[in-house]
């Protein structure tokens, strides 16, 4: 019976993935068709469904207030010619509030951290990496399109649009990858839970054996996959008798997971998905400073914005990591129902990433509208 469920589980997972890819391709085709002729118009993304004031409104109001100060501060910087500390400070504050506003980055990073049970340090690192990337992309777009090519705002809008589509696809890809891995973990946990008690008992010994192999595997096979949870299912697949109810148990992150050579690569896809899309405000600010002849001030301000953004995203990442460890604690000894529930939650987090990606791609969840010009 376990054998059968392994097989049917795989078939199911493959079918689901194939289906999801099909849907995404269809949506993409539809989207591309819509996007044609929309260039120069800015983003073809339609207006988002409305949300109302409240906390969101307050955040927007703060951002708007900071953003409004940019022009005057840039002019002041041009006058004095010194380092524009005032501008940097405002840019930083703007970044802090802006990260709480539009953007899928937080959703992707948080869900990724949550689903994978990553460490806090990794969460913070990913947050800073994605925010830094976002700043660099804005600077690269303005540097190439405006400074080198003397291009127009439309050109930059088009570049942002393409990057945006790429990053949304990447969000979906990250989500699919997570869902694939977590789907296996879920099925394994479910099977273990369903397995009759005698089998569990007999499996205890097997589990002890496999655990040794497990840790062994763990110690120097880190970069072969991205996800912690993945070990669970690998493991499972490796146990042909399938009678291994505790295989789904999670280990705490081993130190080498964080520092090892696979460490950076593991989160790279999430960083790219979250940080590839530049912030429109940064681009407008950079072009303005370029026009005022103080582009380096703009570059510095863009990085200040990035640091502010990183702090907010890191705070949310901390929350995600904390929620995850709380969930793991609630799952108790991580067997039986607790494990099934934990794996369910992980799977839901993975599916949420896919959903965010699809919504962004289809324009049902607008990030930032691109320019009007």
């Amino acid at each position: 019976m376990p054998m059968i469920s392994i097989l049917s589980g795989r078939v199911l997972a493959r079918a689901a993935t194939a289906g999801a890819i099909g849907v995404v391709l269809l949506l993409l085709m539809r989207h591309t068709a819509l996007a044609q002729g929309a260039f120069g118009v800015g983003s073809p993304m339609s207006a988002p469904p409305e949300a109302a004031g409240g906390l969101v409104g307050w955040f927007l109001q703060k951002q708007a207030a900071y953003y409004r100060e940019f022009a005057a501060l840039v002019r002041a910087a041009k006058q004095t010619g010194g380092v524009a500390f005032g501008l940097l400070g405002v840019a930083f504050s703007y970044g802090v509030f802006h990260a709480a506003g539009p953007g899928h980055g937080k959703a992707v990073i948080s869900s990724y951290l949550f689903a994978n049970g990553e460490s806090w340090r990794r969460g913070v690192t990913l947050s800073f990496a994605s925010a830094l990337l976002q700043s660099l992309v804005a600077i690269a777009i303005v540097g190439i399109a405006a400074v080198l090519l003397s291009g127009t705002a439309q050109m930059m809008g088009a570049a942002v649009h393409d990057i945006e589509i790429g990053s949304f696809l990447l969000v979906i890809a990250v989500g699919l990858r997570l869902a694939w891995v977590k789907g296996y973990g879920f099925l394994a946990a479910l099977r273990a839970y369903r397995a009759p008690a005698p089998a569990s008992l007999s499996a205890a010994a097997a589990e002890h054996r496999t655990r040794a192999a497990h840790e062994h595997d763990h110690a120097h096979d880190d970069d072969h996959d991205h996800h912690h949870g993945h070990h669970d299912h690998d493991h499972h697949a490796a146990a042909p008798d399938g009678a291994c109810p505790a295989c789904g148990h999670a280990h705490g992150p081993a130190p080498q997971d964080l520092a090892g050579p696979g460490g950076w690569r593991r989160g790279l896809s999430a960083v790219l998905a979250a940080g590839l899309r530049p912030c429109s405000g940064a681009i407008i600010l950079l072009v303005f400073t370029l026009a005022q002849g103080v582009i380096w001030t703009g570059v510095a301000a863009t990085f200040a914005m990035g640091i502010g953004t990183a702090i907010t995203v890191a705070a949310l990442a901390t929350f995600a990591v904390g929620a995850r460890s709380a969930a793991a604690r609630l799952a108790g000894d991580r067997r039986g129902v607790g494990l099934v529930a934990l794996r369910t939650v992980e799977l839901v987090a993975a599916l949420a990433v896919i959903l965010v990606g699809v919504l962004l791609l289809t324009g049902y969840m607008a990030s930032e509208r691109m320019f009007l010009v």
Binding site: G40, V41, G42, A47, P48, E50, A52, G53, G54, L55, V56, G57, W58, F59, L60, Q61, Q63, F70, A71, G101, H104, S111, F114, A146, G151, A153, Q154, M155, A197, A203, A204, H208, R211, A246, S280, I283, F288, A291, L316, A320, A323, A327, L330, A331, D333, R334, R335, G336, V337, G338, A341, V345, V348, A349, M365, S367, E368, F371, L372, V373
Partner: protein, 233 residues
């Protein structure tokens, strides 16, 4: 990290308790996630100071709305990036013609941020005519006229100028923001500028209000609406 692995039946926590706790944790995370992605809306990146004219025909029917929208200087310089021009710091109307074309074309998707209602009924608008840009004192101003599909005569007329998504912030000019051109002399004009955010709105942070406000539809943008009323007896 590893707990005792004896798979005793007692090792399974009561189903309801365990599931409940985890579902609660999940709800918290998803709630926060939804709140943040639901918050996926932009603050204004473009500020417009608007002046508008309502244009009437000789028979007293409204024929169109003529706008003059001045952009903020950051957006002005962004929009001018890469536009070829002969004299440094100056742009002629001809040099700006392609940009004006792009502006009005792209505004179509947003309904020109202009809504006209005659006696409560929505009035359809045609494509803009007479559009051009001028650039004075680092401010770019877009001029265009929106003809109504068909002229309307109405006792009560309302024109709203705003972006419901608040990507563009519309503020009416301080002095004479709205004028009636050729209207009957007994028509009365009333202008209600947008209220914008108030601190009180920002402070409605109570849990339920907050989540309700996120799922509520439609009302967010209304506070940025600039409303013009014309009453002709």
């Amino acid at each position: 990290m590893q707990r005792a692995t004896q798979p005793t039946p007692g090792g399974r926590r009561p189903l309801a308790c365990s599931l409940y706790s985890i579902v609660r944790a999940l709800a918290l995370v998803l709630g926060a996630g939804c709140a943040l992605t639901g918050a996926a809306r932009a603050h204004p990146h473009v500020w417009v100071t608007a002046k508008s004219e309502l244009v009437y025909a000789a028979d007293g029917a409204l024929t169109g709305v003529r706008h003059a929208w001045a952009f903020d200087d950051m957006f002005s310089s962004f929009a001018l990036q890469g536009i070829p021009h002969k004299r440094k710091g100056a742009y002629t109307r001809e040099e700006l013609a392609p940009l004006a074309q792009i502006n009005v074309t792209s505004l179509k998707e947003y309904g020109y941020f202009t809504r006209v209602r005659a006696d409560g009924k929505k009035v359809p608008l045609s494509e803009p005519v007479d559009y051009w840009l001028d650039y004075t004192g680092s401010v770019l101003t877009l001029h265009f006229t929106l003809p109504l599909k068909a002229p309307v005569t109405a006792k009560s007329l309302m024109v709203e100028i705003y972006d419901p998504t608040w990507f563009v912030d519309f503020t009416l000019a301080d002095k004479d923001p709205v004028a009636l051109q050729g209207a009957r002399p007994d028509c009365k004009l009333e202008v209600q500028p947008a209220t914008g955010f108030t601190v009180a709105q920002g402070q409605q942070l109570g849990g339920e209000t907050f989540f309700n406000s996120l799922s509520a539809t439609g009302s967010f943008g209304a506070q940025f609406a600039n409303k013009v009323f014309v009453k002709c007896p």
